[in-house]
């Protein structure tokens, strides 16, 4: 929207801040405030301390952070690989068949994640694939949940890809596999990194399916936050939440740096 007069510009900013601050910024600021507090009975938190952070960055919490990072990285890489593969395969299909494939991949997002968690639990609780009680069941559930996003953003990028590049490569004597590695995937790289970032962020915050599946030795950070707040340790939970937020944003920042270097146009 193009706003010309100075007054109108101020008005638009005011409306934006009015909506943005309470809805998006304030809750996050409150968590940040709470993470430093020992009491919060007035308007502002009191008894400022860094003790929560000390406990949030060692022992059980540190373990959970590593668990979350490993789960998210593994799940998003798996999701990216399968999602991209499916998107590339889908692009070669006829329109009718591609629609079926797209629908199948959206399914895990369409159904509640609790249902996905339960179905993964039931499916992998008996031989031949007995994964219940291992970290893999968590990683698999996360992969199932985030592959939809990887598939969706990569197939959108593939439809935008000008076929002239592939055709130029083919006319120069490049076989389809060579075209894929040297032309299509490099051109898709910006979308691939974006998809990876999205998958990572979603996996870092996943709670509902994880709750049903996690074994005692593989507790991701969101579970820890839930447990802390559940037993009333709100301020400790807040500190852990800030750590989760910071870790996620840090990784996303790094990914976005890679992404800027990968976008040529």
């Amino acid at each position: 929207m193009l706003v010309h007069s100075r007054k109108a510009k101020w008005a638009v900013w005011a409306v934006f801040l009015l909506l943005f601050l309470p809805l998006f910024a304030l809750p996050l600021l409150v968590v940040l405030g709470a993470s430093f507090a020992t009491h919060w009975s007035g308007v502002l938190p009191s008894g400022l301390t860094t003790a929560h952070y000390r406990s949030a960055t060692r022992g059980e919490a540190l373990q959970a952070l590593t668990t979350s990072l490993v789960t998210a990285v593994t799940a998003s890489l798996l999701a990216l690989a399968t999602g991209t593969w499916a998107a590339l395969a889908g692009a070669a299909l006829k329109k009718r068949h591609r629609r079926v494939l797209d629908a199948l991949f959206v399914l895990p997002v369409a159904v509640p994640s609790v249902v996905v968690g339960l179905s993964v639990l039931v499916a992998f609780s008996q031989p031949p694939l007995l994964l219940n009680g291992t970290r893999w069941i968590v990683i698999i559930a996360h992969t199932v949940l985030v592959t939809a996003f990887a598939h969706q953003s990569v197939s959108a990028a593939i439809t935008r890809l000008d076929p002239a590049y592939e055709q130029a490569a083919a006319s120069l004597g490049a076989r389809p596999a060579y075209v894929l590695w040297r032309v299509r995937l490099p051109l898709l790289l910006p979308s691939l990194t974006a998809a990876a970032g999205l998958c990572f962020a979603l996996s870092m915050g996943e709670l509902s399916a994880t709750m049903m599946l996690y074994p005692p030795d593989w507790t991701p950070l969101p579970v820890l936050i839930y447990a802390a707040t559940d037993r009333g340790a709100l301020f400790t939970g807040s500190a852990v939440a800030v750590v989760l937020m910071a870790a996620t944003l840090l990784v996303l920042f790094v990914v976005s740096r890679v992404r800027t270097r990968a976008s040529y146009r």
């Binding site: 000008d162 006319s171 004597g173 032309v183």
Partner: protein, 348 residues
């Protein structure tokens, strides 16, 4: 190596976009496929490249039937309108792409890339990315990339359409020079621009509505077109309906002396005269009309004159005292400048 279309038909969902094309491009020849958009000319080129599969008919490169070969096994250089340079590769990497894909020995690649860039005058830009080049420079790189694999056949799909007019005439001269330097490379040049076709081609194939209308040297098609479409598309033409007499035709009550061999007296036909061959004032084959439009084009004036309900165009060297709208003027043309065509759409 030549190209041969053997009654090639291409259809998309039942729509015939190329109707049983028979055409042979001789080795080392530049053949222009000239026609308006939707005439099937690009489809013909893509059938040679292997991006469309003919519904029937065969495509030959030399003696080899390539109809069933995938594009990467055809060994064809291709240059397209929007360049299609790989944006993530530098200029020299773009040019080396085809050589790498064909597993050319490493030691040879460097020399071949340098040679191709030298030939197109882009050697100084080897380490640039495509986005850092102008449109004309990008098209030179695209040509260098296609030439680096030393193809026997070069396909050019409207290669100059994205460039502005001034750049286009420069590139046209460059392409003509490249053709002289590579006399063995056959070129199939798709264009809708008759100037490009007349300048560059050894022969022109005129396409319209999925069909080949005419094929011949630029001079043949220009001097002696054989149908109305070709006459008006190549060079522009006055097409007027006439009745055939013996030893001449009748137009607007005047008898025009033209060669009427092979035409039955009394039949309808179309008289074709190029606008720049029509003169103002008294002369042989004279007729009178009313000026309906005058366009000043710098070196020339174009007059639109209504003669007996038909518009006749005349391109005249800039007039000192041009006639006004509605003035009655006499036009004439030499008998040898007129061509008689079979009656067609101009008869309404």
């Amino acid at each position: 190596m030549g190209i041969r279309f053997d009654s090639v038909t291409v259809a998309y969902d039942g729509n015939v976009v190329l109707d049983s094309l028979d055409l042979t491009v001789e080795p080392g020849e530049v053949m222009a496929l000239l026609g308006p958009s939707g005439s099937g000319k690009t489809t013909a080129l893509r059938a040679v490249a292997g991006f469309v599969r003919p519904a029937s008919g065969r495509v030959f490169l030399g003696d080899r039937d390539v109809t069933d070969l995938p594009p990467y096994r055809r060994g064809i250089g291709m240059v397209v309108q929007q360049y299609a340079l790989f944006p993530h590769l530098r200029v020299d990497e773009n040019v080396a792409f085809g050589l790498r894909a064909r597993k050319t020995p490493k030691g040879e690649i460097r020399g071949r890339v340098a040679e191709a860039l030298e030939m197109t005058g882009m050697a100084a830009y080897a380490r640039r990315f495509p986005r850092e080049l102008s449109g004309g420079q990008q098209q030179r790189v695209a040509i260098a990339r296609a030439l680096a694999i030393r193809p026997d056949v070069l396909l050019l799909d409207e290669p100059l359409s994205a460039l502005d007019a001034q750049l286009r005439s420069g590139m046209l001269a460059e392409l003509a020079r490249l053709h002289r330097e590579l006399p063995d490379v056959s070129m199939l040049y798709v264009t809708h621009d008759q100037v490009e076709a007349l300048t560059l081609a050894d022969r022109i194939a005129v396409m319209d509505a999925a069909k080949l209308r005419a094929c011949g040297t630029p001079r043949q098609l220009y001097r002696a077109p054989t149908d109305e479409f070709t006459a008006s598309f190549v060079g522009g033409a006055n097409l007027v309906p006439v009745t055939v007499g013996t030893g001449g035709v009748f137009f607007a009550g005047t008898e025009v002396k033209v060669d009427t061999d092979g035409v039955i007296p009394g039949a309808w036909a179309t008289l074709c005269v190029r606008p720049h061959l029509v003169g103002l004032g008294e002369g042989p084959n004279q007729f009178i009309g009313t000026v309906t439009e005058i366009q000043w084009r710098g070196a020339t004036h174009r007059l639109y004159v209504n003669v007996d309900g038909h518009t006749v165009m005349a391109d005249l060297r800039e007039l000192k005292n041009p006639p006004g709208l509605g003035d009655s003027v006499s036009l004439h043309f030499a008998s040898e400048d007129a061509v008689l065509l079979p009656a067609g759409v101009s008869h309404g």
